[in-house]
């Protein structure tokens, strides 16, 4: 095993705080003891899967996941309306859960798998068509956030009731007030085989 050139640097395991002499040793430790590969490299490089594709990217400590996917990866469907976790426009699905990408630091996403609206549109065109059909949008800026939230709901509950849909969408703000049209679109999309 090669020794790190920075011999004074100690590598701490993020799971159990064990000290390893080299980064490679830390990786081997994490893999064997914690069955995980989720170790940020010292240089701030993370590996994450976005829409099924593996990315290895260097991130700055202050970058949010939104900054990474919107500004750096050019996946501009994810939007920010509020900038502080109040509006849901930046919602993405991470490892099966709808999360707010503007409130998530990119550097914490090593080893994660993220699904954005672009992938949802490819995989569930019926949901997109129903959104268009029911005018579940006006200016459209917040719409991708609703679609992602809806998909996360459908993933865990393929036949939601109207009340369950409303509850799921309660964290998404739409200033144009398109709210009543979303449950119609989602209910019809859910009914489609």
């Amino acid at each position: 095993m090669t020794k790190s050139p920075h011999t004074s640097v100690k590598h701490f395991c993020p799971f159990c705080s064990s000290v390893c002499e080299t980064f490679e040793a830390l990786k081997a430790h994490v893999l064997s003891e914690h069955q995980s590969e989720s170790v940020p490299t010292p240089e701030g490089v993370i590996r994450l899967t976005v829409n099924g594709q593996l990315y290895q990217v260097k991130v700055e400590p202050e970058w949010t996941l939104y900054d990474l996917i919107h500004d750096k990866m050019g996946l501009t469907g994810t939007k920010t309306f509020c900038d502080r976790g109040a509006c849901g426009s930046c919602t993405v699905i991470m490892d099966g859960r709808a999360i707010l990408s503007c409130m998530t630091l990119a550097i914490e996403c090593d080893g994660r798998s993220v699904e954005t609206v672009e992938e949802i549109a490819r995989n569930n065109p019926v949901l997109i068509e129903k959104y268009a059909e029911h005018h579940a949008m006006q200016c459209g800026y917040c719409t991708p956030g609703f679609v992602v939230t809806a998909q996360a709901l459908l993933d865990r509950n393929p036949s939601p009731t109207e009340d369950e849909i409303k509850e799921a969408l309660a964290g998404n703000l739409c200033r144009c007030g398109t709210y009543p049209q979303h449950p119609k679109a989602i209910l019809e999309a859910a009914r489609k085989p």
């Binding site: 202050e62 919107h70 500004d71 050019g74 996946l75 501009t76 469907g77 994810t78 939007k79 309306f81 509020c82 900038d83 502080r84 976790g85 109040a86 509006c87 426009s89 954005t116 609206v117 672009e118 549109a121 949901l127 997109i128 068509e129 959104y131 268009a132 059909e133 029911h134 005018h135 579940a136 949008m137 006006q138 200016c139 459209g140 800026y141 917040c142 719409t143 991708p144 679609v147 409303k166 509850e167 969408l169 309660a170 964290g171 998404n172 703000l173 739409c174 200033r175 144009c176 007030g177 398109t178 709210y179 009543p180 049209q181 979303h182």
Partner: protein, 813 residues
Amino acid sequence: MANEEITRMEEMFDNLRADRYPLKQYNYIGKRVVRRLDGIRKASGSAEYTMDIQLPGMLHMRFFTSPYPHAAIKRMDTSKAEALPGVRAVLRYDDPELPAVADLGGHQISVEPVIPPIAYFQGQEVGVAIAADSEAIAEQALTLVDIEWEERPFVLDPEAALQPGAPLAMPELSPYGNLFNEGMFDILQLGNVEKGFAEADRIIEFKSTRRLHTWAAPERPCGVFKWNGDCPEVWVKQQRPHIAKRAIASWFGGIPMNKIQMHCPYQGASFGGWSQVNWNMAGHYCAAVLARRTGRPVKWTFTRREDFYGGEMDEGVYYLKVGAKADGTITAVEGNATLANQVWPVFHILKHLIENTRIPNIYGKVAVTFVNKGPNVPTRCEQNANTHTQTLVFDHVASALGLDPIEVALKNDGADGHDMEWLDARKRERGFEVRDSLRECVEKGKAAIDWDKNWHPAGTKRLPNGRMHGLAFTWAHEWDDSAGSSEMAIRIERNDGTASILGMGSDNGVDAENSYCQIAADELGMRLEDVHYNPQIDPGFFRMTPDSSSNMSVNGFAIRHAVRILRRQILEAATRPTASTQRGSFPAAFPDARPDDLDIKDSVIYVKADPSKRKTLAEFVGPSGAAGPMSSHEALGVRTAFSVPLFAFGYHIQMGTYNPEQPRPRFCRQAHFMEVEVDTETGEVLVTRVVNVNDVGKVINRGSCEGQQYGGTYMGVGRARSEEVIYDQVTGVMLNGNLLDYKIATILDAGPIDTILVETGMGYGPYGVVGIGEDVATVVPALLGPAVHNAIGVWIDDYPITPDKVLKALGKV
């Protein structure tokens, strides 16, 4: 060119009568359009907004904002900011390249300093703009700017601003005092109110307060400026890209219009709002200077908080006195209001009572005052103060007299102090079918909400869940037909014969683009899927964006004229040979027919007498490059089809009802019903049902109309229940400029919403339309007060009606 439509186009500019030339049959108009032009793009995230624009080498620019509500820069040191790695250019207010003033008008010409050295409100963009490699670096650089301020006294409350000894809020703009308009009150008068009060059986007086609320549009104000040599290329988030272009053309000693390339990507909504505020165009001006200095494109952005500075024009205090007879006939209304920071103080508070009631005696006096807060501009829309007043006047009268508010409304419906008989005569003389719009709206709304069963005296109905039940009604006219001008064009594409509409406008989400396609498809006889419209590109034609209280009554005419002219062109071209070349002319598509023998249906031209003689539009127009030297068909001696280029434009201009010299009574009405539950322990008000009935004259795009009814309701409920921009009274600093602390409505904040559309055909637009976009959001807010009053028996005339005010009204705090 002899084309009857051109004569008609010119004839209809006055907009003073019913549409004399509607279609006989509608195929797409009035139908629910399944295919929203922007639907797939917006839902799938592929719709691109100005905020999404990224160009190679693009810099990010941010403004310094004032920490004080009123302060002047005495000295500014930007050296530390300039030295920060990643900072590429700094533009100071005293930069020699900045003119003293420039046209920064987003809605009309407005000449202002580009970067002012004096702040009149906390959060104002002053002093310096910095372009850097990233927004974060620009932000960090702003913290390194060292400014020595001259702090000045400030005033926030509009009534306090008029008190003797009040600090001057904006001394350079208004040295004589805080009363706008050079110290003049805005007076509106009809009849004689003293006489009206003398005739009344009852005098009702009340005070109402509307606190500051704002637009909170999803996409932050932003823009991108790039120089291609001496030609600017600009991406705007702006409701009126043509006005922005006009302003840009006046900069730097003048830039020819034909050298400016505009892009107007999808707009994350404006609702008027920032589009009308000078700093929006100041962003472009500074970006233009810094883009030229650095040789790189510059994107400027405001933060979410910076978007919060500014608001709707109804902020203020209203004192109302109403005289009424015992049967509900209103004899006089007198109103005094003090409103804050109205940029355009022309809309008053009692204008609607003149425009759509028979009340013969009205006197309104408005003081518009300068205070040290952001500018208040039309925010869906400038009529909020008028609808606020109308709702409260009618519902206070009904309540005081113990009458059904619907009966009071019907008793006072009219216009300009005249009754319905007078108004019906105006309908008749202007060529409209005489219908009673309010009565039709009311009947439908009453049935939907089961008014006769559910209406009850105030404070008398407690529900099984313990909450108090309230029901309320209000009404107004439909005013979305005000003014504007528009030019639109349409062309038929070679190869496939599809139609493209041309005309740059801001797509602010109301699906207006689909409505124009519906008109084009019906008028041309094309399939809707064969008509497309991309309003984001700049073909030189400038369509009016749905704003200024107008859309279809202007753009609908413009596109209809263009399409009718084009249709005639097609039929004429189809019956005559085209283009005489060395090989002879291209034969006519229908050599034995005259234009009137032909018709178009489903994108196919056919002979009316023998529909088997037909050509699709694609077959008729022929391929591009049909007769080129390399054309194999030509080489084989086969003549391909070739038509003249098929292109037409139309335009429309109207002054609408804001023209005092040519008043135009409005005939269409809207009615709104709201049901609430009030928790008397917590003060919480739940809006459990809203019924909207809008007489839009004629429905063009049903889904779009319903969208405005849904959206207007949610915006209205938010404005009524929770929306208030709050300033700290001691420091003058805004406290809640974010979407956690400024509460707009969520999906859970309103119960079921009914969207009922009435079509009396009494609008002045094409096919009898009048608009709907502003009406619901503007009328619904004030309705919460009467609904809460009906629930708890106490008036709360202080908006927003928050739980603490409810508990106070109930004597519990």
